[in-house]
């Protein structure tokens, strides 16, 4: 999905929204565009790209939401994307700043002011600032900064017209925005500027490049080596080495500039009462009470997601879809058998998978939006960071992974709440390793048949072992597979405020709809293919392509004590994990589940059964999950890598368990 460029149509103007995380940039984006029209990924990245349109008179504004970044040094994918977009496309940049933490959030403006693009500053959360007794004079700030300043309360839609008017002003007359720039007075900057002059290609500016080199920007360091000849590079490199600390002066100069800008425009209360946020944080970040509260919140999210979502899901499945399938089946009475099967089992079955996921996704995304909007999510990440860091993840990754116990699809999609693309990718890859309800149902059923009273113990052991595998894979991946340094844990704890119904509903709707629209068709197509493979050419799975594959794989599966029937059952779980039981029923020649109990108990030894369960826990995720991974990572590379990995881990785990169990005498 390649987003359209900026050059189409004379009246189509490009506006980019920049801002630090947690300043309400997404709300400003929705305020301008009424919600994204294009949701995709930035080319080759796992970073989401949202784009929308907005019409002002004859002008059509194409609004691109840049990733939230604290600065513009190429330290992360997000920063690289934001910076390259501004440099290459030269849009009007709307910087959203938080009126309650203005000094920090103007840092990004200080960087963007350097880039020679028209800028408008949106001061968001003016209501919260006012409530705290902070007085801000937008006109004074505007005069100091040299760019239009628009006060906003984006959640209530306040300031939209003014913001649009300001954007149009700088679009029609770019001279309206002549940002004041921080003054950097170190000598070394001048020297480097002279060395780079005339050697730096468009769209870069030599002074800006010199500044970024001093700041240790690795991307530009590599590029500058090529731009400069070997001699000049040596000089520059020498300068950088002797001025290692210059970047601190650069940052210092930016803050001095910010302080100068803000001084006249902002009046703070001398000593306010202890903020509500601090009082709540005494509990929320407390080592004991904080953890108890967290456990409660996690329980609530889980209970809400599956307590509200699951009954709806069942109702959809049993009443709506079953009814639809019967109606279609009856309506096609005269149609050929294969066509009816294709439509009823393939298409309606596949679409049903998508439809039944919707309630769970809506509730989960709404729950996450409440936690994020209220500011609690950052506190939870704070408490969980110690544990998650051991497997190379960010504290926030805990939430999506936790949801994986219900279903892997919301777990994969939920990884969106993790800001850094590297941690997000790792979260996505680990999510299917959390045992989902589908897998747990198989374990509960087969376990009960084969192990009787010890079944709960077996199931508990399997879940524990599964989580250990997850931790091990995480540790290995974060060290050796997914490149990039484990990022430092530095996170803003935003002010608490009541979640807003509008933004919660919008978050739930956009995220769910994005999944349905983009993954829906793919899941239906895949369901049709899997249905065909497991029904053709023979009349039952036994004589199908899947059955043939199962027989072919039997020699390898023997290592894990599995015969072809167990292999085919495992493969049928590819459609949905719950299918495994139905397939076992067909293959072991029993229609009723009572019959299956007896047949399984006699045909499968304890060792084989245990190995089979291990394989169920670790095997390649279902097609919906794979499609979700594809959607979130923007390509087939990671879903395939994940499937390959889980295939290997499952086979290895199954083989180890089978061999060990035989040695222990469970083989009879």
């Amino acid at each position: 999905m390649t987003p359209p460029g900026n050059s189409e149509g004379a009246g189509n103007r490009l506006v980019a929204l920049a801002g630090q995380p947690n300043v309400g940039k997404t709300t400003v984006f929705n305020l301008l565009t009424g919600g994204a029209q294009h949701v995709g990924n930035w080319p080759g990245k796992t970073v989401r790209r949202e784009e929308g349109l907005c019409r002002v008179g004859a002008l059509q504004l194409q609004v691109v939401d840049l990733p939230g970044t604290y600065s513009l040094t190429a330290a992360s994918d997000e920063e690289r994307i934001a910076r390259d977009f501004i440099l290459r496309e030269r849009p009007v940049v709307v910087v959203t700043a938080d009126a309650t933490g203005m000094e920090r959030s103007l840092y990004l403006l200080a960087e963007i002011a350097q880039l020679d693009v028209p800028v408008v500053l949106g001061l968001n959360m003016m209501d919260v600032a006012r409530a705290q007794g902070v007085q801000i004079e937008p006109h004074v700030l505007e005069a100091a900064l040299g760019v239009p300043v628009v006060p906003l309360v984006a959640v209530r839609g306040e300031g939209r017209e003014e913001l649009l008017a300001a954007i149009c002003r700088v679009l029609t007359d770019p001279a309206r925005s002549h940002p004041s720039r921080p003054a950097f007075c170190c000598e070394v900057l001048g020297t480097m500027h002279r060395l780079l002059e005339g050697k730096v290609p468009v769209p870069y500016d030599p002074e800006w490049v010199a500044l970024k080199l001093l700041e240790g920007d690795e991307e530009l360091l590599a590029a500058a080596r090529g731009w400069l000849g070997p001699t000049d590079w040596e000089t520059v490199h020498g300068l950088l080495r002797t001025h290692e600390d210059a970047f601190l002066d650069v940052a210092g100069a930016r803050y001095e500039w910010i302080e100068r800008m803000v001084r006249a425009a902002v009046v703070r209360p001398r000593l306010g009462p202890i903020a509500v946020t601090d009082r709540l944080d005494r509990i929320a970040t407390h080592p004991l009470w904080g953890r108890l509260l967290l456990a409660l919140v996690l329980g609530l999210v889980f209970a809400a997601t599956f307590g509200l979502g699951a009954p709806l899901q069942r109702w959809l499945d049993e009443s709506v879809l079953a009814g639809l399938a019967t109606a279609v089946g009856d309506g096609l009475g005269s149609a050929p058998e294969w066509f009816r099967g294709l439509l009823v089992e393939g298409v309606i079955g596949g679409a049903g998978r998508v439809a039944t996921l919707i309630p769970v996704l809506v509730v989960f995304f709404a729950g996450m939006a409440v936690l994020e909007d209220s500011g609690y999510l950052a506190r939870a990440a704070f408490l969980l960071d110690g544990v998650m860091h051991r497997i190379g993840l960010h504290g926030k990754s805990f939430f999506p992974l936790f949801l994986g116990f219900g279903c892997s699809v919301p777990a994969v999609l939920g990884s969106r709440i993790v800001e850094s693309s590297r941690s997000r990718l790792l979260t996505i890859l680990l999510a299917p390793l959390v045992p989902c309800t589908g897998r747990l149902v198989v374990v509960a059923f087969v376990g009960a048949v084969l192990f009787g009273n010890t079944a709960p113990l077996v199931a508990g052991g399997l879940v524990a072992a599964n989580l250990l595998v997850l931790a091990a894979v995480g540790a290995v991946f974060s060290r050796w597979v997914i490149r990039g340094e484990r990022e430092a844990f530095i996170m803003v704890l935003p002010l608490y405020h009541g979640p807003r119904l509008g933004s919660v509903m919008r978050a739930a709707a956009t995220n769910t709809w994005a999944f349905v629209r983009r993954a829906g068709t793919l899941i239906v197509a895949a369901a049709v293919v899997v249905w065909a493979l497991s029904n053709y050419p023979g009349p039952s799975p036994e004589h199908s392509v899947l059955g043939t594959v199962g027989r072919a794989l039997e020699p390898a599966a023997r290592l894990a004590g599995m015969d072809w029937r167990l292999v085919v059952a495992t493969l049928s779980g590819f459609m949905a994990k719950e299918n495994v039981i139905a397939t076992l029923g067909i293959l072991y020649g029993a229609e009723a589940s009572a019959g299956l109990d007896a047949a399984l108990a006699t045909a499968v030894t304890a060792a084989s059964g245990l190995a089979f369960l291990v394989v169920q826990m670790l095997f390649v995720p279902c097609i919906s999950t794979i499609v979700a991974i594809r959607q979130e990572t923007g390509g087939w590379r990671w879903p395939l890598a994940n499937s390959g990995l889980q295939l290997m881990v499952a086979l290895a785990g199954g083989a180890i368990v089978f061999q060990a169990a035989q040695i222990l005498g469970l083989g009879v």
């Binding site: 240790g216 110690g386 704890l493």
Partner: protein
């Protein structure tokens, strides 16, 4: 990829009155004196308000897990490892002590 030297070998014990942020008790106010741990790390900290000379107040230090500080009107959580790399001077007078070598 070219790596410019970091300053991790520098010993904090060399300067009097300077401690790591990770070692401060809750409610202590201090000023950032030095940032260890390399340029990219220090740039990130600076972008979030923790620059040399910035005044910090420790809001929460549980002796394990991240540390929460208030800086430039914003609450920031820093991992324990990260907080160990922020060297600070205690006391309000220290706010003036902008140290450049």
């Amino acid at each position: 990829m070219l790596r410019l030297g970091s300053r991790e070998q520098w010993s904090p014990l060399g300067a009097a009155g300077v401690t790591a942020l990770a070692d401060l008790a809750t409610d202590t106010t201090c000023a950032v004196q030095r940032l260890l741990g390399g340029r990219m790390f220090a740039s990130r900290l600076a972008a979030m308000g923790v620059s040399i000379g910035a005044e910090l107040t420790v809001l929460r230090n549980n002796r394990s897990g991240p540390v929460v500080v208030m800086v430039r009107g914003t609450r920031i959580a820093l991992g324990r490892r990260e907080a160990g790399k922020v060297l600070v001077e205690i006391g309000s007078a220290a706010a003036e002590a902008r140290s450049d070598d």
